[in-house]
Symmetry: C2
Subunit: 402 residues, 2 copies
C-alpha cells in the first residue's frame, strides 16, 4: 500500500525513516502487502537526501494517484494544512496528522469530512508525541466514563521546570539551555506561555468528553512567572511545580479546562516526570487512575505514533474506524472564574489577614515578611474577591489532587 507525506521536516522525515526501517516488521505483523512511501510533498528540494527522488511540489500528484490510500500531514500550521487535508479526505484518502493546531482548531470539521467520505482521519501524534493516548481513550477505556484528564503535555516547559527544581536554576537560564539543546525555539512563546499544552488538552477534552473544545475557551497560563522561591515552597510542602493541562467533568454536563502551573504531590505519578518527557493521567469511573508516560516530542517518537496511525488506516481501508465528537457549544467549558481548587498563595502581605478569609489554611511558611500557604478548595472568583485589595500577594498557584 502506498503512502504520501506532506511536509518533510523533523516529523515528516522521521515518518519516512520509521516506515522504511521497520518495513519488514510492519509487513510481517500488520500490513501483509507492505507500506511504502511513494511521494513526499514539500516546497523545498532535498538534494542528497535518501528520499530525494520521492520529493514532489504539487498536491495534485498525490490526489490523482489512486494507489495512494493514506496521506500523512506533517506540515504544521493551520494553512494550507487544513485545505490540503480536506482535499485528500474528499478524494477518498485517509489522513494521519501530527499537527495539534490543526486538530485543536479544525478537528470537528475534519472528522466530519472523513466520515462523509468514508475514510479515516487520525491524529495520535498530535498529543503526547509517541505516547499512546488517543487509542487507549477511545478503545481501552471505552467501558469507562472518563471524569478527568490531566497531564504534562509540553516537553519544553517540563525541561525548564526540571532544571529549576533539580538544579535550582532560574527560569531565564534554564530557557537558554533548552534553546541551545533545541528543546525550545528561538521564540519560545508557544511553549512557555502554555499555548502548545492548551491545544493538546483541547484535543484530549474533545475525545474524553465528546465535544469540540476551542483553545480560546481554555484558561491558559505559562510558567514565566514561576520563581525559585515557589519551587522551594513546593518542596517544603512535599511536591513539585509542573505545568498541568487538565479538563474534568463538572457533573452537570459541563467541563472545566485549563493550563497552568500547579503543585503536584511527590507521590503522584506526574511528579516524577522529568526533562522533556510527557505523561497523561486519565481518571475513569471503573478503572480509577491510569497514567501513560513517554517522549512527548522528537522525530522518531512522534513518527512512531504517526506510523501506528498509518498502519491502522491500512488495516481499516474497508471499514472506517468510527470515532469523533460533537460540535463545540457555547458554555460547554465553564468560565475559569467558576473553577474550584485549593490554591497556594505566597507573599509578604499580612499572613493572618489572608488566612482569616478562608475557613482553614495550611501554612508552609509563616515568617515575618513572608508567608506561603495552601487554601481549602475555593472558586477562582471567590479567591479573587478574598484577595482583592490586599497588597503583597506574590504568587497564586493551583494545587492538584493527582
Amino acid at each position: 500500500m502506498f503512502v504520501a507525506i506532506m511536509g518533510y521536516g523533523v516529523v515528516g522525515s522521521g515518518v519516512a525513516n520509521c516506515l522504511k526501517q521497520n518495513y519488514n516488521h510492519i509487513k510481517e505483523n500488520s500490513v501483509p502487502e507492505g507500506l511504502e512511501v511513494r511521494y513526499i510533498l514539500d516546497l523545498r528540494d532535498f538534494p542528497g537526501d535518501p528520499f530525494e527522488s520521492l520529493v514532489i511540489h504539487d498536491l495534485d500528484t498525490i490526489i490523482d494517484d489512486p494507489e495512494v490510500k493514506i496521506v500523512v500531514e506533517t506540515m504544521g500550521g493551520l494553512h494550507p494544512a487544513y485545505e490540503f487535508v480536506t482535499e485528500c479526505l474528499k478524494s477518498g484518502k485517509s489522513v494521519v496528522t501530527s499537527n495539534k493546531e490543526l486538530v485543536a482548531m479544525k478537528g470537528y470539521e475534519l472528522l466530519l469530512t472523513a466520515r462523509e467520505n468514508n475514510v479515516n482521519f487520525m491524529f495520535e501524534a498530535s498529543v503526547g508525541g509517541g505516547i499512546p493516548l488517543i487509542r487507549p481513550i477511545i478503545s481501552c477505556l471505552a467501558a469507562n466514563e472518563i471524569t478527568e484528564v490531566a497531564g504534562i503535555l509540553n516537553g519544553t516547559t517540563n525541561f525548564i521546570l526540571t532544571k529549576m527544581i533539580n538544579e535550582n536554576m532560574p527560569f531565564d537560564e534554564a530557557l537558554k539551555i533548552a534553546q541551545s539543546l533545541g528543546y525550545a525555539e528561538k521564540d519560545p512563546t508557544a511553549d512557555v506561555e502554555g499555548i502548545d499544552a492548551c491545544r493538546k488538552i483541547c484535543i484530549l477534552a474533545a475525545l474524553c468528553f465528546g465535544r469540540h473544545v476551542y483553545p480560546e475557551s481554555v484558561h491558559t497560563e505559562g510558567i514565566r512567572n514561576i520563581t525559585l522561591k515557589d519551587v522551594e515552597y513546593a518542596k517544603k510542602w512535599g511536591g513539585v511545580i509542573k505545568l498541568i493541562a487538565s479538563a474534568s467533568k463538572t457533573g452537570d454536563g459541563h467541563i472545566t479546562a485549563s493550563v497552568s502551573p500547579a503543585f503536584v504531590r511527590n507521590e503522584s505519578q506526574l511528579a516524577g516526570v522529568n526533562g522533556v518527557f510527557n505523561a497523561a493521567l486519565l481518571r475513569g469511573n471503573a478503572v480509577g487512575d491510569v497514567v501513560f508516560y513517554g517522549q512527548g516530542a522528537g522525530s522518531m517518537p512522534t513518527a512512531s505514533a504517526v506510523a501506528a496511525d498509518v498502519i491502522d488506516c491500512a488495516k481499516h481501508t474497508c471499514c472506517r474506524k468510527e470515532f469523533g465528537w460533537k460540535a463545540s457549544e457555547e458554555g460547554f467549558v465553564i468560565p475559569y472564574d467558576d473553577f474550584v481548587s485549593p490554591f497556594y498563595i505566597r507573599g509578604n502581605a499580612d499572613a493572618e489577614k489572608v488566612a482569616s478569609s478562608f475557613s482553614n489554611v495550611q501554612f508552609i511558611e509563616n515568617a515575618p515578611g513572608e508567608f506561603a500557604l495552601i487554601t481549602p478548595p475555593v472558586s477562582v472568583k471567590e479567591l479573587k474577591s478574598k484577595l482583592d485589595g490586599i497588597d503583597g500577594i506574590g504568587s497564586v498557584i493551583r494545587v492538584t489532587d493527582y
Copy 2:
C-alpha cells in the same frame, strides 16, 4: 447485543456491574445497539443478588442462544475454562477473558481456534488489570520493533515491598497485612513466589516477540528472601527493590525472560510505583521507553479492561481483529544461565576476594564483616562460577537499567 458471563466471582460481577453502570455511555459512544448481559454461568446460585435472575448452570444455554455473540470467561483456572472457551469459540462466539493462567498456557491454541472460527479471542484484563497494555502493544506501537518489555505486574508483592521500603517492615509482617486487607490470599504462593507475574510476562513476551512462551521456560524467583538489609542497601545505592518481570530480544532471534527481585534506580518510572499499583515499560526502536501505570487488580479496574474487550468484539463482529503469535519453540527463551546483567551482591565473605573476580565493582558498603556491591554486566553462569566456593554470600539481586 447480548453477552454471557462465565464465572460470577470478583471479576465476573465487576463486569456485570460495569456494563450495567455504563450502559448509556457505551450505547452512545461505542455500541449503538447497546450491550446487555443475558446469562451468568456459575455453579452457585446468588439469592438476592441484583443479577440473580440471569444465573444459569448449563453451558449449553449459552452455546444454543444465537443472540449471544460474546462470552466473558472470568472463572479462572485452566479447567474447565479451556474447554468452555474452546466450545464457545467453535460455536461462533467471541470470547473475552481475564484468566492469565489460561492465556499463558493455552493462548496459542485459543487464538488459532478463534481464527479458524472467524471470531475474536481477547484478553486485555489478563495482564495489568485495568491498565491498557495489549492494545497499545498491537496497535499503538505497531510501527516499532519492541526490544524489551518489563514491569511490576503483581500488586500483592508490590504492596509487600512498598511496606518494606517505606515503613521498614519485615516481609512476614507485611504479608500478614496484605492478607488482612484481601491483597494476598491465605496461601500466597502464586503471588509471593512470582508465579502470577510469570504468567503475565509470558503473555506480554508472546505479544511483543511473536511466539508463545510457556511459564516453565521462564526463570522465576519470588520475594520471600528479600531482607530489610537489602532494602537498605538499595536505598544507599539510590533505588528500590521491585519484583520485575521482563523479557527482551537478544539480537539473534531469541529472547530472555525472567521474574525476579531487582534493583531499580529512583529516577526510573517503575521506582515510584507503590502499593498494589502495577506498571509496564515497553522499549521500542522508534518510540524509546513508554510506561503504562494503573491498578493491576481489583474488581472494577479489571472489569474495565474486560468490558473494553467486549466492546471491541461488538465492534468487530464483521471483521475479525487480526492478531496472535506463533507456536512455542524449543530454545526461543535462552537459558537463565546465559542472562546478562549487573548484579548486587551482599554478604560477609571476603569482600576483596569477591570484588577481585570482576573487572570492576561499585561498593555500596565495604565494612569489616559486611559488604554490598554492584558487579559489571555478567552472565548468570559466570556469576555462579565466580562465586562458587566462596562462603558468606547473603543475597544476589539483579540490577536493571530502566
